[in-house]
Amino acid sequence: MRLSTYIAKRAVYIIFSLIGLSILVFVLARVLPGDPARMAAGERAPEWVVEQLRKQLKLDRPLYEQYFYWVTNLLRGDLGYSIVSRRSVTVDVLEYLPASLELIGLAAIFQITGALILGAIAGYFSYKWPDNLLRIFSYIGVSIPAFVVGILLQLIFAWWLKIFPAQGVLSPGVSRPPRVTGMYTIDSLIAGRFDTFLDVLWHMVLPALALSIGSMMQDARIIRSGMVENKDKEYILLARSQGMPERLVMFKYLFKPSIIPAVTVMGLDAAALLANAFLVETVYYWPGFSKLGITLMLNKDLNAIVALVLVIGIIYAIANVIVDVIVAYLDPRIRFVETGE
């Protein structure tokens, strides 16, 4: 199968997955306890106000009709009205998502590079002290929730050592660059303000690190396992017996095939960073989409919850395709297996 056909096929799968996800979340959000109209109107609001809101939000209609309205609006780019922010959810998504994306972008870089380096070291020195050390840190990294790591990093690097800021995006005296993409880093570069760019990066280090450590450790372990498994394979022995330089054996013949299983996990882990960012963004006061998500969920903001899950779903699906393509590229057998060639 050609790579382009393969990608097209995956894209069709995504559309069906997202339709299924939207129905599921739409229904789930509506069976959660709490009357959204009452929440929007306030606990003491008289019944006529609640009813008025219920009609306005079309919550008085049957569920299938509500879904139909929602999908119709979605196709027009309107994700519905948020009862918490009291404006279109689309505006909220456009306002807060870019800041989250740049944070998880840096976290993904930390996660992937960290996992590759640590995994390679542990795999190369398997059953020696670097491997044992990594194993201990892996267990710790995987088992501690990201927001706890966030608090620990904040305590050590912001409070004790005072080398990174505790919260926020910009330092006092540094004004926000003119909004173009909504990403502080990109907007700083567009505005030609390199000092602002560095300032934002400086603020991003701790939350990005907190977000990435868990998946970084997990991915490193997978890479390490792959390397240990491949290390004793015959083609490696052959390469070594032919006197190939160790660096060549290591990176070309051992490392590359060993990371294929990890690539799938790394890609999905990177996408999952957005969902994991809920509490990390709150701890670091990062003005992103995930921090907003907590408030929306606590207030049963139906449209916003559906939009939130859908956005995470879309990012996940895109990551999935990218991962599939990379894996198919790295290992063409996968493409052929799909078609039985």
Binding site: M39, P46, Q56, R86, A166, G173, G243, K291, L298
Partner: protein, 559 residues
């Protein structure tokens, strides 16, 4: 092979040297970058460099629109940006503010207010009686804020007679009407009309500019909006043309309300790094004590007309029997609770907080297991009380409350009453309380007075029209009590109204629908370089939600 190895070794050394040089350069660069930064950065907007800034912890959402926001977080910001029609004094009386004077018709149905001349909105326009009438009508139409539950049952119409006089006509006599107007914040009519979006849910008024008001203000208060970033901050700056003055010598020139509530450790770090001057009021005793132990930070408190209740569902057996309810009231170890869990609050003495004018000390229950047993024996459930499991639902969002609930459960067990504690999230709480059959045996809630009037607090807490709301988990539906409350509400003369309020308090204490735990205080951690008069001298505190934060009276002298 040897040559290869040698070549490789040379390359490695070169690579290592280059790597070390780069690393050193990066470390040195980062070091200089960091050390040349100013004070510790903080979240939120960037204040003007010369400004005296106060950053105040708050919850989110903050709805600055007076026709929408009615919660503590919103009111705290509103009182600094808008002017109310009348002003509440610390002793509970009402003073002129935007209204210079007023008259009330003999039948108590028509209120005419003379509007103060020369008040400027932040836009520079002059505030008139037309703005006042418009503000009331906007609240009544939108309905989600105070307009809906506070004024729509009572206010027939609001119209401006001319530029200086506005008239409100009531549907029925409402004694506390004047006091309720501390919640009527005046908006700039022309500014609102210039920003309405049509079509909208309010007919000719479109969306009544509710969308625009999310991020802008239309007020005349001591501070004006500089920037609002939803979920992040509300940043306000001093309004130089403020008509009432009253700014302290070192009053903050900028105030930033930051949503800080969810993570205590984050707020702690912000306080320690001096990124936050005043904490929010939702932190635990341990957190506040910890802050108080830090140099340069103190724990401060001021009274607030709010009380924490155990609401007993009087429609569910065995709590439909007054003697079982009284037995529970005698089971609670008030002193231990106050000493060990809530030393920052004071024990409740009535069904009304004592800081509310008209509250009388009528507490007749104390921890006494002998009396509790006697009461239980008088009940129709004496023989089979062990067959009942009383469900006590506690919100996990406030962990401290589980501790006092456990205290009640353990003491009740000593006289054979089985209490089961159930953790119920806030959203579910609201839903289950809306029906007497699903409303748990016991629910707990801190409830505050919306304005300084005891009769109205009794109305929102115990009148049948409140049943089903979170204010009333008792489901009393008591016609006698309803009549008493309505009578008090309809009484114009204040001393007569307060006399009736006193009788109602004694009546409620006798039928024991509620266990009264403590009177709420606003307790916050404050940096020592911020002076807040209402914290230093409680006699200056206005014990009404929002009015605890009058920023223009504060002084800031950063070290």
């Amino acid at each position: 092979m040897k040559i290869l190895i040698n070549r490789s070794a040379i390359t490695k050394i070169q690579a290592a040297v280059i790597a070390i040089i780069i690393l050193v350069a990066v470390v040195v660069g980062v070091y200089f970058y960091i050390t040349t930064q100013g004070p510790q950065p903080g979240p939120g907007p960037t204040p003007t460099p010369t400004a005296r800034v106060v950053r105040v912890g708050n919850a989110w959402p903050i709805y600055l629109d007076p026709a929408v926001g009615q919660d503590f977080a919103s009111q705290r910001a509103q009182v600094n940006v808008y002017d109310p029609l009348v002003w509440p004094e610390p002793n509970g009386t009402i003073s002129p503010w935007v209204a210079e004077s007023w008259s009330i018709s003999a039948n108590g149905l028509v209120y005419t207010f003379k509007i103060r001349q020369g008040i400027k909105f932040h836009t520079g326009r002059i505030l008139t009686a037309y703005d006042v009438a418009f503000s009331m009508n906007r609240c009544l139409t939108i309905g989600v804020g105070y307009g809906g539950f506070l004024w729509s049952p009572f206010v027939q119409s609001a119209y401006a007679i001319n530029n200086t006089h506005v008239q409100f006509t009531l549907k029925k006599t409402f004694g506390p009407f004047l006091a309720s107007l501390i919640r009527l914040f005046i908006v700039d009519r022309q500014e609102i009309m210039a920003h309405i979006k049509t079509p909208g849910p309010y007919g000719d008024f479109g969306d009544y500019a509710t969308d625009w008001m999310l991020t802008h203000d239309a007020g005349s208060g001591p501070y004006k909006v500089k920037e609002i970033k939803l979920q992040d901050y509300v940043h306000v700056e001093k309004f130089e043309d403020y008509w009432a003055g009253g700014f302290a010598e070192n009053a903050p020139t900028e105030v930033i309300f930051l949503p800080t509530a969810p993570i205590p450790s984050t707020q702690r770090t912000m306080m320690l790094l001096k990124q936050l001057e005043v904490s929010d009021q939702w932190q635990s005793q341990e957190w506040l004590d910890d802050m108080d132990a830090q140099p340069g930070i103190s724990k401060k408190s001021q009274p607030c007309a709010a009380e924490y209740y155990y609401m007993l569902n009087t429609k569910r057996p065995p709590l439909d029997d007054v003697h079982v309810r009284k037995a529970l009231a005698y089971c609670f170890d008030y002193e231990t609770a106050m000493e060990t869990i809530y030393p920052r609050f004071t024990q409740a003495r009535s069904c009304l907080p004592m800081s509310l004018p008209g509250a009388i000390d009528c507490q007749i229950y104390s921890y006494n297991l002998t009396k509790a047993t006697e009461e239980l024996q008088k009940s129709k459930y004496a023989a089979n009380i062990s067959e009942y499991t009383i469900e006590f639902h506690v919100m996990p969002e406030v962990p401290e409350r589980m501790r006092d609930a456990m205290l009640l459960a353990s003491e009740a067990a000593k006289i054979g009453i089985n209490i089961q504690l159930v953790s119920t999230p806030w959203l579910q709480y609201i839903e289950i309380m809306s029906n007497p059959d699903t409303c748990p045996h016991i629910t707990c809630m801190a409830i505050s007075a919306y304005f300084p009037d005891a009769a109205f607090m009794l109305y929102t807490k115990y009148h049948s029209s409140s049943a089903g709301h979170v204010d009333q988990g008792e489901w009393l539906l008591d016609p006698t009590l309803d009549a008493m409350i309505e009578d008090a509400l309809g009484t114009l003369e204040e001393s007569a109204r307060l006399q009736k309020v006193a009788q109602i308090q004694e009546y409620i204490m006798e039928i024991c629908p509620t266990i009264f735990i403590y009177d709420w205080y606003i307790v916050e951690a404050v940096q020592d370089y911020v002076y807040i008069p209402s914290f230093e001298d409680p006699s200056q505190a206005i014990p009404v939600e929002g009015y605890s934060t009058i920023c223009r009276t504060w002084s800031v002298t950063p070290p």
